[in-house]
C-alpha cells in the first residue's frame, strides 16, 4: 500500500510539473518562441553574464549541480535543488516560475529573458 501511495505521489507530482511546463511553453510559443532547445537552455544556465561589471550566472546561487542545494550568494540562505526529479515542488507553480524568471533574468542577464530564452530554460530544467 505504502509503495503504491509513493508511486501515486510521484506520478501526481510529475503530472503537475508536466502540465505547468506545457502550459508555459504554449504561452511562450504564442509570444514568438520557436522550437525550444534544451541545449540552448543548458548553455544559458551555465554561462557567465557580465552585468554591472560583475560576472553572474544561474550557478552563482543555484550551484553547478542541480541535484544539490544552492546557496544565496549574499545572504547564505539555502536554496532547494532545482532538479524537478529530486525536488517535486519545482516547476509546479506557474506564478512562482514567472516571478523568478523576472527577478533572476533581470539580475543575472541584466534584462528580462525573451520568450525563447525562458522556453529553453524550461525544456532544459524539466529533464534534470
Amino acid at each position: 500500500m505504502k509503495s503504491f501511495l509513493l508511486i501515486a505521489m510521484f506520478t501526481f507530482a510529475a503530472t503537475a510539473q508536466a502540465a505547468v511546463v506545457d502550459d508555459l511553453l504554449a504561452e511562450y510559443a504564442g509570444q514568438g518562441a520557436t522550437a525550444s532547445s534544451p541545449e540552448a537552455g543548458r548553455e544559458n544556465w551555465y554561462k557567465n553574464w557580465s552585468v554591472n561589471g560583475e560576472q553572474r550566472s544561474c550557478t552563482t546561487c543555484h550551484g553547478k549541480d542541480l541535484t544539490q542545494s544552492g546557496k544565496h550568494k549574499k545572504t547564505g540562505k539555502t536554496i532547494d535543488p532545482m532538479s524537478p526529479r529530486l525536488n517535486r515542488e519545482r516547476l509546479t507553480d506557474r506564478k512562482k516560475i514567472e516571478k523568478w524568471f523576472r527577478r533572476n533574468c533581470k539580475w543575472t542577464l541584466g534584462r528580462e529573458c525573451s520568450a525563447e530564452e525562458k522556453a529553453n530554460f524550461l525544456v532544459f530544467l524539466r529533464n534534470q
Binding site: K74, T75, G76, N104, K106
Partner: protein
C-alpha cells in the same frame, strides 16, 4: 501565607520584566503567509517590527534594486505586503531604536540601533568570517527559532562555537 504569595508574585513579575528585555516575545506580529512566502525565499522573512513603517515603504518602493538584487513583485502582492508591514512596523519609541540612520530608501535592519546593541559584542570571526554564518542578516544561522520570529538568547547556537552568554 499571603506574604509568601505576594513575594512569589513580585518575584515572578520581576523575572518576567527581565526576560522581556532579552527578546521580543509577545511583540511579534502574526505571520502573514504572503509576506513569508514572497519575502522569505532569499533570506529570513524579517519580523515587521524590526523597522519603522517609513523604512518598509522605502524598501517596498525599490524592489528592483533590493540591496543589489532584484526582488520585484506583482503589484497586488506588493501592495498587500506593504500594508501588512506598515500595520506591524515599529512605532512610537520603538521606531526610534529601530531607526536606520543615513539610509534613504534602503534601511538595513542590521544597522538599527537596537540591532547593533544586541550584536556588537560578537567577534567578527564568529559571524563575518564564519563560513556557516557570513552575515548578521543570516539570522537562522545562529537563531534556531528565527523562522518563528523568536530570538531568545538562551536558544542561540553559533555554528562552530556554541551558546552565547552575555
Amino acid at each position: 501565607m499571603l506574604k509568601h504569595k505576594l513575594t512569589a508574585v513580585v518575584l515572578l513579575l520581576g523575572v518576567g520584566a527581565v526576560s522581556a528585555d532579552d527578546d521580543d516575545h509577545g511583540r511579534m506580529a502574526k505571520q502573514d503567509p504572503t509576506y513569508v512566502n514572497e519575502c522569505g525565499e532569499c533570506h529570513l522573512a524579517y519580523p515587521p517590527s524590526l523597522l519603522s513603517a517609513q523604512a518598509w515603504r522605502g524598501i517596498m518602493g525599490s524592489l528592483g534594486d533590493h540591496f543589489g538584487d532584484n526582488a520585484e513583485l506583482p503589484q497586488a502582492e506588493r501592495q498587500r505586503i506593504l500594508a501588512y508591514l506598515e500595520q506591524n512596523a515599529a512605532s512610537g519609541f520603538r521606531a526610534s531604536i529601530f531607526a536606520s540612520p543615513g539610509s534613504e530608501n534602503q534601511a538595513r535592519i542590521t544597522q538599527t540601533r537596537r540591532f547593533r546593541h544586541e550584536h556588537n559584542e560578537i567577534p567578527k570571526r564568529l559571524w563575518r568570517d564564519n563560513e556557516k554564518v557570513g552575515s548578521l542578516a543570516n539570522c537562522e544561522a545562529c537563531h534556531g527559532d528565527a523562522k518563528q520570529w523568536r530570538f531568545r538568547e538562551r536558544r542561540i547556537n553559533i555554528p562552530g562555537y556554541g551558546a552565547w552568554d552575555d
